[in-house]
């Protein structure tokens, strides 16, 4: 089947087998190996990307379902060589060790901040319940997300606002669900 998907700002048209999972399409066809696979039951969240502005587990979406959609991966976050505030906060707060869960954690954190720009600790923990990390015990991840929230708040600084604005701007609930309208 022929699909056209915009990934990290670039439009790709490819023939794919219907059974191809979005994550495998990203990794194997597009070389977007920043997004990883940690399980086969949709539990770990390592494969989290944004599909039309909402976080999804890319192992639980078929590539054909993403036809006509826009996908953002961990590789599409940094702009003009500048890290997204959530990426920066993960570094600043030592929120990663082996880093395998990190792409998914960062993508989900951005999503959660789009829904709740100033989450308390509980809200951050709940918002990350679909992402497993075996290294960090989560404490520094929670800290990083709250730190990022602080930096992304309107008025927190021109760069942060620009990036944050770009993300929240694309948030329209109606664009999610069946995948690609």
């Amino acid at each position: 089947m022929r699909i056209t998907v915009t990934v990290d700002g670039t439009s790709y048209t490819d023939d794919v087998e219907p059974r191809t999972l979005l994550v495998h399409y990203l990794r194997e066809r597009l070389g977007k190996v920043g997004t990883v696979v940690g399980c086969d039951t949709s539990n770990c969240g390592a494969c989290t990307v944004h599909l039309d502005g909402h976080s999804v587990k890319s192992c639980s979406v078929l590539a054909v379902q993403a036809d006509g959609s826009e996908v953002t991966t961990i590789e599409g976050l940094a702009r003009d060589g500048q890290l997204h505030p959530v990426q920066q906060a993960f570094h600043d707060n030592h929120a990663l060790q082996c880093g395998f869960c990190t792409p998914g954690m960062i993508m989900q954190s951005i999503d959660l901040l789009a829904d709740n720009p100033d989450p308390d600790e509980h809200a951050v923990r709940e918002g990350l319940e679909g992402n497993l990390c075996r290294c960090t015990g989560y404490q520094n991840i929670v800290k990083a997300v709250r730190d990022a929230a602080h930096h992304m708040r309107p008025g927190a600084g021109p760069e942060a606002e620009r990036v944050a604005g770009a993300d929240t701007g694309s948030r329209t609930a109606s664009s999610v669900g069946g995948g690609g309208e």
Binding site: V56, V64, E129, S174, G178
Partner: protein, 284 residues
């Protein structure tokens, strides 16, 4: 792992979807949000030869009002159900239960209708649908029919949907302003319910006027806790009355046994959680 090969179609109307399903025969499967189906395909516990994706059918998505009912399109995502203002006003129980489903990523994709059609006994939306006396609107080659929730769920993962039928929408009688609570008990946040209780009540002054209570994962299908409801109605809204009523929660249940819980423990949990669900609902 990746799924075994299959053919894929994404029709844009329900009629086309039903026709595609009928044409494909036995080995076809409907794909909604895919959050239950795709993991099953990945670990190759199922290998349908044809997938009919409902994702492009606009008419299946969204919530609308029809007189004293809400109509929820089967493809409305959990995320949208959680945030829908009509549901918040007229069927808060569904929103509260949906809050507890899975995790944010799964809620972005997973659908209301998919959960109902999947009929996992641990699924969190079955008991609320039963408690609210929802009706399932089903379409097949012979047209549409409507099945009450009480008749819809037949067994583990089994509903009255025929293989060539699609769940189109769910009609929810309005329970305007009824406070509601869904009390879920699981071992880790992301896990399915070991036991859960859906409760919503209408009070008249200090008296409980009506109550709707149903249980998740206490039998192969969701169970309406009639004994609890009857014990509540007409009672003052006190802790003692709730406690006494909750004692009826496990009546008629037939839960499974797994490493997390045996029958006795599940039935005990049903009683405890029922009390908590009703209290929390009334606390607003």
């Amino acid at each position: 792992m990746i799924p075994a090969p299959f053919d894929y179609v994404a029709p844009s109307t329900v009629d086309d979807a039903v026709r595609a399903l009928a044409d494909a025969g036995e080995d076809a499967k409907v794909l909604a949000g895919g959050q239950s189906l795709l993991p099953v395909l990945r670990v190759r516990l199922a290998a349908p030869t044809k997938i009919i994706d409902l994702g492009k059918i606009a008419e299946l998505r969204g919530v609308r009002e029809e007189g004293d009912h809400l109509v929820i399109g089967s493809m409305t995502t959990h995320y949208d159900v959680q945030r829908d203002s009509l549901i918040a006003e007229h069927a808060a129980l569904l929103a509260r239960a949906t809050d507890t489903v899975a995790d944010p990523q799964v809620r972005h994709r997973g659908t209301f209708g998919g959960s109902i059609a999947h009929a996992d006994p641990a699924g969190d939306l079955l008991a609320p649908a039963l408690a609210l006396d929802c009706e399932m609107v089903i379409q097949g080659m012979d047209g549409r029919r409507t099945v009450a929730a009480a008749d819809f769920f037949e067994d583990f993962f089994t509903t009255s949907l025929a293989p060539d039928e699609i769940l189109v929408e769910v009609r929810v009688p309005k329970h305007t302003g009824w406070p509601a609570h869904y009390e879920k008990f699981n071992r880790v946040a992301q896990a399915w319910s070991m036991v859960a209780v859906a409760a919503t009540v209408r009070t008249d002054g200090d008296t409980i006027a009506e109550a709707r209570v149903a249980l998740t994962n206490m039998s192969a299908v969701p169970v309406r806790a009639r004994g609890v409801e009857e014990a509540l109605v007409g009672q003052p809204a006190t802790a003692e009355a709730i406690r006494a009523a909750a004692e009826h929660a496990a009546e008629g249940t037939n839960p499974t046994v797994d490493a997390n819980a045996d029958v006795e423990y599940r039935q005990h949990l049903a009683r405890v959680l029922t009390g908590r669900a009703i209290s929390a609902a009334m606390a607003g």
